[in-house]
């Protein structure tokens, strides 16, 4: 049967080959008429089964029958229940009841800090924004920062100190430790190991230094599953010393990305995205674009903006970099032989382009690329003279850069050898995410005393004597460095909800007697840093700003080791030789042999966000899948294996195997399969349990980010995946309008001409005219990376409920703002286009006309108001909405039972109940707040004063909100751009949200302009 499926895909291939030019192809399987796709389509027919809930007995039957009759007697008279009002006993000076306040703080991911502003209502943090003053991140945020709030209120977070599974207390723990420490101290703490993640926090570093003075022989291990070992090692090999490299895309004209998702992932991504976008935006009068070449081993969101993309299996990447280095003329490197022409040409042109723009180019290697790639990248940038302008090298940001895999494996060896008496694991979950070959768990069990400080009771806590609840980043005092070295302050917004303590306070148990609280520890260390005199001013200033002014690392000169490049090349040769040797010995048909690419999950990262409903329900940027991970395959590969999306496959590598549902991802390089970490958690909260599969078992300390020789074969069974967008073709409709900059210069209005929009006079009725404000939004498709930050921001701002996998599969996700993704071109390497779609606030809204109760109507400023408490739920408005941006509460979605979740809700937005329609309102609560503020000061609302949640979060500033009646406003000027067009404008809906056509800047030598 796999044969016929293969054939059907074959025919699809054939038909695809026929299409060319600007023709859009439809989602693969459907084109192939693949039966399994029909299955996906006919979503489980007897869906009702799940609705039965508790079993049906006589009483329930009568109860229901009675309810239906009682309903008949419902009367119009509704009387509000009495509510009480509870004032403070002593009101804090600075608090004005009802007025939200903003605090500057930060979160860390992979050790690196990003500056945040947190909105707090009467002491309850409700919304997170980027800290616009922060020199590193400049006010942009990623999905993780936006979702941090939900993590804070997560009712499944660990709430108890556990001693051997029994409930205990911090006091008890402290007592036990002070009892145990002297013994350990005797031999200089040789038996003590502390395992942390990557540490950039100066204070934490200081504490560890202090620990080392107290326990000279103790060991400090840094390990987290997603870290930048390649970069670290690369730097060492290239310079002999640890070096941090950062890039300035604002000055760049040509970028070559080597397996780097630099716009969406990594500590600096939001800043890179901002500068990159600033350099890619095209406006009349400013018509130059940065050009991006992307070489990648798995499709990335970044590459959806690439002008030229080359997908190759991971083992090929080093060769391409090698070739690039050779083309650039890096000394000691000559061209590798036997490079396929298509790839060679790509590299040649990229190299030429780089050389044309020497000093204004960037060659950026991915964090997960092997060290050799980093070495060569360093050499190339050096050779091109980019260093100092676009490529900046500084001292390492980490307190102590180490090869984390190496340091973890030494720890494991020590544990096995019984050299470890006490292991304190701080905030990490190695039992779940350590490389499988180390068999961390087994080693761990050999340690006499195991402590675990973590946010949740996870896989590791189960095997530790003590589990200690960690304080959430928003609950604790701390500091950390941003990717550029800026020292960033983290201050608590709320007392620990569940009695958690920070890493500082935890370490303090071993340092101080009695242990000190975070604030004290922090201030103490800072006093040392600052030097006595101006400490208080520095402290206040930094708390207010959220960072220490001028703590950014200045670029420094580092001498590149002459032989480094050559060594890297020979290393690549060696690696290739080993791989071929291994392949020769390895079993399995060569057709089943695949390279395996490992990546952190785009939404739940390495698994630490597995219990975050917002992130679980967030569609993955490329597959639009929610609540699951999958084995991403190239269409061709899937055809060979005879699998369709959802079919189970077994993936085997290094003697370990996992089962995973396959997912056909257009543009994925053939011969490789991508699996994402983070799913398959066995010990975590209610949200994350039972989602996806665990990919860590395939990972070995030798092959952290890709495995050269895995095998895949189809096994019986399917897994139903909840995907929010099942159709990826535009059907020849001009939804995302794409053009090259050349075309734009020839005909700036090309996008508008694609589909005629009726003139404003073409109307049966006289239209309304909007004096005063007229709100509108402009979205620049040229810079949208589809990173989803806007989506989570919207969820957080507007109390949007999580509905769960089952409801998503029924097509009932609630996101007001979604990012549509379309494909164009050949299925093996198509162009991907991202398009954020929220309510268009049509001036002639089809939804309003059909609402029988006037629950949705137009405000005097042209907003398409939605009045939840008037809605009766006919869903007619949604049926009649051409953009399908309306969302309906088919069941009671918003959680009214869990009290702690109520704390996190935005008090300025109604929490919708069952049976009502909802949708994007342009964050009308923010509009009203700004208007009230302005009117109280008798002044007009300033342009830019109101930012919608999505706009505020957007790293590339692709979304701009404002008053289109004010000709000077940013949005008005954007809408005046020739590339501006409205979605489905021919329906005469007059959308207030419009788009700027997506412009590309291909290298004419690689892609001659079509005519």
């Amino acid at each position: 049967m796999s044969h016929e499926k293969a054939n059907s895909l074959e025919s699809a291939r054939a038909r695809l080959a026929g299409t060319r030019g600007r023709e859009f192809w439809r989602s693969l399987e459907e084109l192939a008429g693949d039966p399994s796709f029909q299955e996906v389509l006919e979503r489980e027919f007897p869906a009702g089964a799940s609705e039965w809930g508790e079993g049906l007995d006589r009483r329930r039957f009568l109860q229901l029958a009675a309810a239906s009759l009682a309903f008949a007697g419902l009367s119009a008279c509704t009387r509000q229940p009495l509510e009480s009002i509870v004032p403070y006993v002593r009101q804090p000076e600075e608090i004005v009841p009802g007025r939200p306040r903003l605090f500057a703080t930060a979160m860390t991911l992979g050790g690196y800090a990003s500056g945040l502003l947190v909105e707090s209502h009467e002491g309850r943090p409700t919304k997170i924004e980027g800290n616009p003053e922060h020199p590193a991140t400049q006010g942009a945020t990623d999905v993780f920062a936006q979702a941090l709030i939900l993590g804070l209120y997560d009712p499944d977070r660990s709430q108890l100190v556990l001693e051997a599974g029994e409930i205990s207390t911090w006091a008890r723990f402290i007592a036990r430790m002070s009892a145990a420490l002297p013994a350990l101290q005797a031999n200089g703490g040789a038996g003590i190991r502390i395992l942390t993640g990557t540490v950039t926090s100066p204070t934490l570093g200081e504490q560890i230094r202090a620990l080392r003075t107290r326990f000279p022989k103790m060991g400090w291990v840094q390990y987290e599953p997603v870290s930048r070992d390649g970069a670290r090692l690369g730097a060492r090999l290239a310079f002999g010393v640890p070096v941090e490299t950062r890039y300035d895309f604002a000055k760049a004209d040509v970028v070559v990305s080597l397996d780097a998702d630099f716009l969406v992932e990594g500590p600096a991504s939001v800043r890179y995205a901002r500068n990159f976008a600033a350099n890619r935006r095209v406006r009349v009068g400013h018509e130059r674009m940065i050009r991006l070449y992307a070489v990648e081993s798995t499709p990335t969101a970044t590459a959806s903006l690439a002008d030229h993309r080359l997908g190759v299996p991971p083992s090929e990447v080093p060769f391409l970099v090698w070739a690039l280095a050779a083309e650039i003329g890096v000394t000691g490197v000559e061209l590798p032989k036997a490079l396929p022409e298509e790839r060679a040409r790509f590299i040649r042109e990229a190299a030429a382009d780089l050389q044309r723009n020497s000093g204004h180019g960037i060659v950026i290697p991915g964090d997960y690329a092997p060290a050799e790639v980093h070495v060569l990248a360093h050499a190339i940038n050096e050779r091109l003279g980019n260093v100092g302008t676009t490529v900046l090298r500084t001292d390492p940001v980490e307190v102590e850069p180490v090869d984390q895999v190496a340091s973890l494996s030494t720890l494991v060896d020590d544990m096995r050898a019984g050299r470890v008496d006490l292991l304190a694991i701080v905030g990490e979950n190695p039992v779940f995410d350590a490389p499988a070959d180390l068999e961390f768990k087994e080693a761990l069990l050999k340690v006499p005393l195991r402590l675990h400080l973590a946010l949740e009771e996870d896989e590791t806590s189960q095997y530790c004597h003590w589990h200690l609840p960690e304080a959430h980043p928003l609950e604790a005092w701390s500091d950390a460095r941003a990717y550029d070295g800026t020292v960033t302050v983290m201050q608590p917004l709320i007392e620990p909800l569940y009695g958690g303590r920070s890493a500082h306070e935890f370490l303090s148990v071993f340092l101080d007697d009695p242990p000190r609280r975070g604030l004290e520890i922090l201030r103490e260390h800072w006093r040392l840093m600052a030097g006595r005199e101006d400490f208080e001013t520095l402290w206040r200033q930094s708390l207010h700003d959220g960072f220490v002014v001028g703590s950014v690392f200045g670029p420094r000169k580092f001498a590149l080791r002459k032989p480094a490049a050559a060594e890297a090349v020979s290393a690549i040769r060696a690696a290739a030789r080993d791989a071929t040797a291994a392949a020769a010995t390895a079993g399995g048909a060569p057709t089943d042999r695949f390279e395996i690419v490992f990546r952190p999950d785009p939404t739940i990262h390495d698994g630490r966000f597995a219990n975050n409903g917002w992130l679980q329900e967030l569609p993955k940027p490329l597959s639009k899948m929610t609540w699951d991970n999958a084995a991403y395959l190239a269409p061709a590969a899937a055809r060979r294996l005879g699998v369709a999306s959802g079919d189970l496959v077994a993936i085997e590598a290094g003697g370990r195997a996992i089962e995973a549902p396959a997912w056909i991802l257009p543009g994925h390089p053939d011969g490789a399969v991508t699996v994402h970490f983070g799913y398959g958690r066995t010990a975590c909260g209610r949200v994350g349990k039972g989602t996806g599969f665990d990919a860590y078992p395939l990972r070995s300390s030798a092959a952290m980010w890709s495995h050269p020789g895995g095998t895949i074969f189809k096994i019986p069974g399917r897994r139903d995946l909840a995907c929010t967008q099942e159709h990826f073709a535009m059907e020849g409709r001009d939804l995302v309008r794409v053009g090259t900059i050349a075309r734009f210069q020839k005909d700036p209005e090309f996008a508008r001409k694609m589909e005629e929009a009726p003139g404003r006079d073409l109307n049966l009725y006289p239209g309304f005219n909007y004096e005063g404000h007229a709100w509108g939004v402009s979205i620049d498709l040229s810079v949208c990376t589809g990173c989803n930050a806007c989506v989570v921001a919207c969820v957080a701002e507007n109390n949007i409920p999580v509905v769960g996998k089952d409801q998503v599969r029924r097509g009932r996700e609630m996101h007001w703002l979604r990012v549509d993704r379309y494909y164009e071109g050949d299925s093996e390497s198509p162009d991907a286009h991202m398009q954020p779609v929220m309510c268009m606030q049509c001036e002639q809204a089809p939804c309003e006309v059909v609402c029988p109760v006037g629950a949705t109507s137009h405000s005097s400023e042209g907003l398409n108001d939605m009045v939840y408490n008037r809605c009766v739920g006919t869903r007619y408005c949604s049926n009649n909405c051409p953009y399908k941006v309306r969302r309906f509460n088919f069941l009671q979605y918003s959680d009214e039972k869990t009290p702690v979740l109520k704390l996190g809700r935005n008090p300025d937005v109604t929490v919708r109940s069952r049976g009502v329609m909802e949708k994007c309102t342009y964050c009308v609560q923010r509009i009203n707040a700004a208007r009230i503020a302005a009117e109280k000061e008798d002044r007009p609302i300033r342009d830019g004063e109101i930012k919608t949640a999505c706009q505020q979060a957007c790293p590339t500033q692709a979304i701009v909100f404002g008053d289109i009646n004010d000709a000077q406003s940013r949005v008005a000027r954007l809408k005046a751009e020739p590339a501006n067009y409205g979605l489905m404008e021919h329906l005469n809906t007059r959308p207030r949200t419009t788009y700027l056509a997506k412009l590309r800047n291909p290298n004419p030598d690689l892609e001659p302009e079509k005519t």
Binding site: S75, S84, Y88, V96, S860, D865, K936
Partner: protein, 218 residues
């Protein structure tokens, strides 16, 4: 065939047909009246409170300004409820051992807040902002009535949407000079001209703006 019905049934049947019409109309009227009655709106009903606080005594008696207790009325959507400390500013000196005030003292002693029963309670899907109304010259009395004449606090307006709309459609009928906002006893001399003038001066928005749904609902 014998008669089935008695003579009287002729009249009865005819009358009952017309009666039916009036009964139906009557019922509808009752429902509507009930919907607007104090039973539903709690208008003019005094609710039980932990402390029998008298606005009359404190406002007209002692002449305390509204803002002394409701501090945030000009700056926030929420007018603000006085913390226990505010009460005790005076009551640690006067009436300091009256039984009536025991709950207040207890609150301060034990740090337990006093739990009042809300008198003016809008549904949660309505977003009313005190500060902007005050800024636009809508007096406290316009919604809360002559609080200075209430020994015990009670709701004086129905607080139903049609009532809100009435003012949002005709702000000129209610608006007063900003400096008179907190004077509960203030009476206009010639509201017609004054209102028209103030609406202009204070830049109060048009009825079309003020009756847009999102003005109050989000």
């Amino acid at each position: 065939m014998a008669q089935i019905f008695h003579r009287s049934t002729n009249t009865i049947s005819r009358v009952s047909i017309y009666a039916a019409v009036f009964i139906a109309a009557g019922l509808a009227w009752v429902l509507m009246a009930l919907d607007r009655s104090p039973y539903t709106t709690r208008q003019g009903i005094v609710l039980g409170q932990p402390v029998p606080f008298s606005h009359e005594h404190h406002v007209s008696g002692l002449g305390i300004d509204c803002r002394y207790c409701h501090t945030s009325v000009e700056t926030s959507w929420f007018a603000g409820m006085p913390p226990t400390a505010t009460c005790m500013n005076c009551h640690k000196l006067i009436w300091k051992d009256s039984d009536m005030l025991e709950p207040v003292r207890a609150s301060l002693r034990e740090g337990r807040p006093i739990v009042w029963t809300r008198v003016h309670d809008l549904p949660d899907f309505v977003y009313f902002d005190h500060s902007i109304h005050v800024a636009k010259g809508i007096g406290c009395a316009s919604c809360h009535g002559r609080v200075d004449e209430m020994p015990l606090m009670r709701q004086s307006a129905p607080l139903q949407m049609e009532w809100c709309l009435d003012c949002h459609r005709h702000p000129e009928r209610r608006v007063r000079p900003r400096d008179q906002v907190f004077d509960l006893a203030w009476q206009p001399v010639d509201q017609a001209t004054l209102g028209a003038r103030l609406v202009r001066e204070y830049g109060i928005r048009s009825a079309r703006d003020l009756t847009s749904c999102s003005t109050c609902h989000r």
